[in-house]
Amino acid sequence: MPTDTKRIRGPEVSHSLSRFVCKPDTTSLPSDGARADGRSRDQVDVRPMFVRCGLVSQAKGSAYIEAGDTKLICCVYGPKETERKDETDMKCGRLFADMRFAPFACPERGPWIQGSQEKDLSLMVLESLQSAVCLHKYPRSQIDVNVMVLENSGSALAHAITCASLALADAGIEMYGLVLGCSIRQDGDSYLIDPTFLEECGGCQSSGENQGSLTVSFLPNLNQISGLQSDGEMAEGTLAAGVRACIEGCYKLYPVIQQALIKAVRGAGPLPIES
């Protein structure tokens, strides 16, 4: 594990306060009834989302997403000359994705250096976007996608994928379609769509059947699943139902994304060509 020697570090061992708090029995989810934020179970009831494009003026394209308390920002740079010349395919461009959590994004402080979990998530973001970008139109060049999670209140990966594809569209990178992400948390027989952080973590504690989470990235225009990742134990039928629920969730988010893009295009000013 490499350490950052230039930074003044805290003591070797420190603990988050939350570890000493007596835990009331909120870690296990209420088995039925409404969820903590008033949404109901088993319904494709995604959190209201706030989306905006073009916040970062230096970047080619950028996007910001806020869903509940989950907040993330994404910037796209490029196409620019490739840095790694060794294995580049000359006919095709390359996409690089990087997803990071701010150290203060989660209840417990995280490290500055990218951990293996973040690398795994970066890979997932990359694989979800790769099939959507027309890379053959960008020979000899690379496109960088950077996602920063400012506040993690659940479903960070799903929103990161949405945010990244939005930033790519804002950057004017040619794509076969927009990619949207949605996740569910399976809790026994019912599912919770777009789970909050508490709902996401609650699963590790309970030991019943069908406890797991699932993230799907989906291209609504092409009806294609570009990314899929599940965790925890789920029966095959439950899994299939979960995928369907996620797809439905993506369709629900699609108009919101479209509106944000319309606003971005309109806001940038009139067309250069007289029409």
């Binding site: 080619k60 740079y77 490029g78 196409p79 620019k80 000359e81 010349k85 060794d86 580049t88 000359m90 959507a132 027309c134 960008y138 020979p139 000899r140 060049s141 569209a169 804002d170 004017g172 040619e174 794509m175 076969y176 379609g177 927009l178 291209l219 609504p220 225009n221 092409l222 479209q258 893009l261 319309i262 971005a264 295009v265 309109r266 940038a268 000013g269 009139p270 067309l271 250069p272 060509i273 029409s275």
Partner: protein, 194 residues
């Protein structure tokens, strides 16, 4: 603002029988789809099918392509080639720097074997060139100036003055009247831009 149709990546625009694909679109199964967020633009160009493209206010096409005329700045020279940074493609400024190479053989069309790079370019010159290849793994973009219209357009003398062209191979400093050798371009009006 005119109520122009807005489209998103992956939106179906029309069949290939109705329109010809322009920029910002892609084709699949003989149907044209949008690949950008922007306005749908149909342009009639004479007798043929109209060209359909998706445009935005920001210019999307930003990569040097084979055959494109580029404006570049010479960064270094050696007896075999000159290294340049590509600054513009057509009249679009590039956001990121792309590196290119003008080999000795590609400087002019005639008497290729007698070309000497330091008599054609100097570091700091602004050169119009054409992309001939995207290059391979080791090399950068390969450029050529082997046309009358291509070559040095802006150059500074040793004294620092901006030189004026006096022939296809010479430029003169307005202050010292010293002559320096360059591969000078006969600038065409359509390539002129700010």
């Amino acid at each position: 603002m005119s109520p122009m149709k807005m489209c998103f990546p992956g939106d179906k625009l029309c069949s290939i029988d109705d329109c010809k694909p322009g920029t910002g679109v892609h084709m699949r199964h003989s149907v044209i789809y949008s690949s950008l967020v922007g306005y749908v633009l149909k342009k009639n160009e004479g007798e043929e099918l109209p060209v359909i493209s998706v445009v935005r206010e920001t210019e999307a096409k930003l990569l040097p392509d084979v055959g494109a005329i580029v404006t570049c700045k010479v960064t270094s020279i050696n007896p075999r080639f000159a290294k340049v940074h590509i600054l513009y493609v057509g009249s679009t400024p590039l956001k990121d720097r792309f590196r290119g190479t003008i080999r000795k053989e590609d400087v002019r069309a005639t008497e290729k074997d007698k070309v000497e790079t330091f008599k054609s370019f100097r570091p700091g010159d602004i050169v119009l060139a054409k992309v001939i290849s995207l290059g391979d793994v080791q090399s950068n973009y390969l450029l050529t100036t082997a046309e009358n219209e291509l070559g040095v357009v802006v150059a500074h003398s040793e004294a620092g003055g901006q030189m004026v062209p006096i022939s296809w191979s010479e430029m003169q400093c307005p202050h010292t009247h010293a002559k320096e050798l360059r591969k000078v371009a006969r600038v065409q009006p359509e390539y002129l831009h700010a």
